[in-house]
Amino acid sequence: MTKHLKVKLLIVAALTALIAAALLATGPDKEPPPSGAGRVAVGGAR
């Protein structure tokens, strides 16, 4: 494997790690809020 190819593979690996880290750092996927759902009062009705 040539030196140039090794450097390119290293860059791709680093980019992969960076993007993966960014996706994980921004937290887990959150389910969208249900549309049109009424609010439920916690601790009793008004």
């Binding site: 994980l24 937290g27 996927d29």
Partner: protein, 170 residues
């Protein structure tokens, strides 16, 4: 065959630009594959990738990424000898001179298509759909796809350099 066996010198900037086209699609390809590997990319609800067969999605995005890189690799032909003489493994045409227009027209059309497809990214993109990425995940998606904006202009520049060189040196 090497660059030294080409007719006419390839400008250094054209060599770099051709190399750069291959890097334009890398970040988005990586993002796509990580998305298929179920990293939290911000798609939820009906857009959640869990609704799609894991191996099908992974195969699909991998093929898409390979296709993008193969297309980008063709740019290297504009700065390599195989863009002037058909390679030996190509039947019937092997060893023959590549007609300049056979390279210039597809490359120019490709550059135009890429610019039409990706230029809008310069203005950013945003979605109000809560099932699509937003916030930090949208920023990651945007940054991964932003290099694609450069692909079209880079290819156009390399195509012009190729056309000039072929016109001068045959």
């Amino acid at each position: 065959m090497s660059a030294t066996s080409m007719r006419g010198p390839v400008p250094r900037w054209a060599e770099w630009a051709a190399q750069a086209t291959m890097w334009c699609a890398i970040p988005s390809g990586i993002w796509r594959i990580l998305f298929a590997l179920r990293l939290p990319a911000g798609f939820t609800g009906s857009s959640d990738p869990d609704h799609v067969n894991f191996f099908f999605l992974l195969g699909y995005v991998s093929a898409l990424t390979l296709l993008s890189e193969a297309a980008a690799f063709l740019s290297m032909g504009l700065v390599r000898s195989w863009g002037e003489i058909w390679p030996r493994w190509i039947p019937f045409l092997r060893g023959r001179r590549v007609h300049p227009l056979a390279a210039i027209i597809p490359a120019a059309l490709g550059a135009a298509a890429l610019m039409a497809l990706w230029s809008g990214l310069v203005f950013g993109f945003e979605t109000s759909d809560p099932e699509l990425p937003h916030g930090g995940k949208l920023v990651v998606l945007y940054l991964c796809y932003l290099p694609l904006v450069a692909w079209g202009p880079l290819l156009a520049a390399v195509t012009v350099a190729y056309a000039v060189r072929r016109h001068r040196h045959g």
